[in-house]
């Protein structure tokens, strides 16, 4: 049952993310991105991480996507600004190599699962799910990368302002 739900969600996520880059209309792209985000949130639920799933929907599918859509609407792109058609050969080789990579990865994973000798196992998730255990981990074991991420956010803000403003 779980593998069925996982396959459906995974296919939806992959197909939607491919659609994001195949669409000519940026609004349609953004909507497909929302679909990708939502299916990712479902995958988090499946992994027994409800808090992450909720955050994924609120932050990504909610706040960030609304901003995306606003920007797209405000820019009001005309059709000729969408950019020229991609070269055919480039597209052909791109798809070819993606398939080669897919075949390679599937072979590797199949060997890993069905190959008689290998006993690789994915280790069990150790931490219990929920807000409280997550917070506890963030502020104890992973305090250092957590604080480092705040520096990262500051840098991103400064960078965005420098890029966007002509004169400070």
């Amino acid at each position: 049952m779980e593998i069925l739900i996982f396959s459906i969600l995974a296919i939806v996520a992959v197909v939607c993310s491919i659609m994001v880059i195949c669409q000519k209309n940026p609004v349609a792209s953004a909507l497909f991105l929302i679909a990708t985000m939502v299916s990712l949130a479902m995958l988090f639920l499946l992994l027994n991480a409800p808090f992450l799933a909720v955050i994924q929907i609120i932050v990504y599918a909610g706040a960030i996507m609304v901003l995306f859509l606003f920007v797209i609407m405000l820019l009001n792109l005309r059709r000729d600004e969408f950019g020229p058609e991609k070269r055919r050969a480039q597209r052909f080789f791109g798809i070819l190599f993606v398939f080669l990579l897919l075949i390679g990865m599937v072979t590797v994973i199949e060997v890993g699962i069905f190959g008689s000798k290998s006993t690789e196992t994915v280790s069990e998730a150790t931490a219990p799910a929920g807000v409280e255990p997550l917070a506890q981990l963030l502020f104890t074991k992973y305090l250092f990368p957590f604080e480092l991420a705040s520096v990262l956010l500051l840098v991103a803000i400064v960078g965005a302002v420098v890029m966007a403003k002509r004169r400070l």
Binding site: V108, I109, S118, E120, L148, V158, V162
Partner: protein, 476 residues
């Protein structure tokens, strides 16, 4: 816990904030903030040199001789970059203070990265390093090429981060931990009980190598390098070509030599092939370049190939030769870029053919450029020779004769395009007679590079001792 170990990083971070505040508060923007930034770097260097060794947060932050060594590389590169940016920022229409602040913040990320003891810290500090660089690469917003450089770097940086994260998540999935020492012990225990390395682990290696490959500009992942290097402001190109690569090397060594060294049969051959490709393709395409920034871009791809010789050797001698060559590469490459900066300030050109007759226009500048070029080739008694000597001998020790043969052959090829610059400067004449004038900061930076190249070539032992100590961190 003693948080004192974090002092250099925290100090540099606060100094960057201080620069933002000064730039925001002051009314008259006459004085250049470059000197404030330089002062901050000097103080941080003192802090690094006097800092203690130890670890924090259960091993997430490692302050050891390896991190101290690479911190000095980052600080010196930052110093030279900022010193050579003084004139560039004077011509900027706006946002002069943020330029220096962002360079300092990128350096903070690099310094955290050199100390990273787990994969999560490693990833966050890698992002902290690259995000300011995206902005800095596109700092000339009025120029199409600069904007293009920033965008290309952003997209490919995103892809490489995704690849790296995919590799990290596979490793985490297999071991259940992000700490490098725990990853190591878990994998060894599993290896001993089952007797083989699973395919998912190898897949993790491949994705992580691809992720680092983008940062290091190894050959199948090098497509972004020439365009970004050409379009970005030249001081930032210099910073990218040295500091960003040193970051990639430090991160790669931390991860692969800390956690995966016993699985070296599974990834060393891959690195050997990548090194050979980098040396062959980097050197051959560099032959065709007419623009000095593009030429140096391909030359830096080739140089990374040489550095990988030490990684492939996977021995204590190999790591110390990598660390040593990074310093050698720093002085020679920064020197070459600083010469290009001085030249293009005066003439507005980056074309190699415009260097004709430079030996008559500015004999000192031409002589220094010749020294840098000869050091990049590896001519004795300059630093490049000693660096390559240690790299090659480390590789020969581990019986990678074929790789050393390729390295020597491609070094001969590289002679052509490096000496082409020297030929233009000394044996071609031009009608232009006016000398290239430089500011004090630019002169100082050039002088540091020349002294570095000569010193490392003649007395390599001073730095080699530090490099050996840095290499002692890993268990071979």
């Amino acid at each position: 816990m003693t948080y004192q170990l974090l002092l250099p990083q925290i100090f540099l971070f606060l100094w960057a904030i201080l620069i933002f505040i000064i730039d925001f508060v002051r009314k008259e923007k006459k004085h250049n903030l470059a000197y404030v930034a330089l002062l901050g770097i000097v103080i941080t260097t003192v802090l690094v040199l006097t800092s203690q060794k130890g670890e924090l947060f259960g091993g997430m932050f490692q302050a050891d001789s390896f991190s101290a060594y690479f911190n000095l590389i980052f600080l010196l590169t930052g110093f030279l970059t900022i010193a050579s940016s003084v004139e560039f920022t004077q011509r900027l229409p706006s946002n002069k203070g943020e330029y220096f602040g962002l360079i300092l913040l990128s350096m903070v990320g690099m310094m955290f990265l050199a100390s990273a003891g787990d994969l999560l810290t490693l990833y966050v500090s890698l992002e902290l390093t690259t995000i300011p660089l995206f902005v800095l690469a596109s700092y000339r917003k009025d120029e199409f090429k600069s904007t293009e450089a920033g965008l290309k770097y952003l997209i490919l940086g995103g892809i490489s981060s995704a690849l790296l994260l995919f590799g990290i998540s596979l490793i985490y999935g297999l071991t259940g931990t992000t700490f490098l020492t725990e990853v190591r012990t878990t994998l060894i225990v599993r290896f001993l009980s089952t007797g083989n390395v699973g395919p998912a682990l190898v897949l993790g290696f491949i994705f992580m190598i691809a992720g680092f490959g983008f940062k290091l500009a190894l050959v199948p992942f090098h497509m972004w390098v020439p365009d970004v290097y050409e379009g970005a402001p030249t001081p930032i190109t210099a910073f990218l070509s040295v500091a960003s690569k040193a970051t990639g090397i430090a991160a790669f060594l931390r991860v692969f030599f800390h956690a995966f060294l016993i699985f070296q049969v599974d990834w060393v051959m891959l690195m050997a092939v990548l090194a050979a490709l980098a040396m062959i393709i980097g050197n051959i395409i560099a032959l065709l370049q007419t623009n000095i920034k593009r030429m140096l871009a391909y030359s830096s791809i080739a140089q990374i190939g040489y550095i990988l010789l030490g990684v492939v050797a996977a021995s204590s001698r190999g790591v110390s030769s990598v660390a040593f060559y990074t310093f050698v590469y720093l002085f020679a490459n920064m020197g070459a870029f600083i010469t290009a900066i001085a030249f293009s300030h005066k003439t507005g050109s980056d074309e190699i053919k415009d260097y004709a007759g430079l030996s008559r226009r500015s004999p000192a500048l031409a002589a220094m450029m010749a020294v840098f070029m000869l050091s990049l080739v590896g001519i004795p008694p300059l630093a490049g020779f000693m660096g390559k000597y240690y790299l090659f001998s480390a590789a020969i020790e581990q019986r990678y004769i074929w790789l050393v043969v390729i390295a020597i052959l491609t070094s001969v090829i590289s002679l052509y395009y490096y000496l082409n610059v020297v030929r233009q400067m000394y044996f071609q004449t031009s009608t232009e007679e006016s000398p290239i004038l430089m500011g004090a900061a630019l002169k100082t930076a050039l002088l540091i590079c020349v002294i570095g190249v000569l010193l490392l070539g003649i007395y390599p032992n001073i730095f080699l001792n530090f490099a050996n100590q840095a290499a002692m961190v890993f268990h071979y």
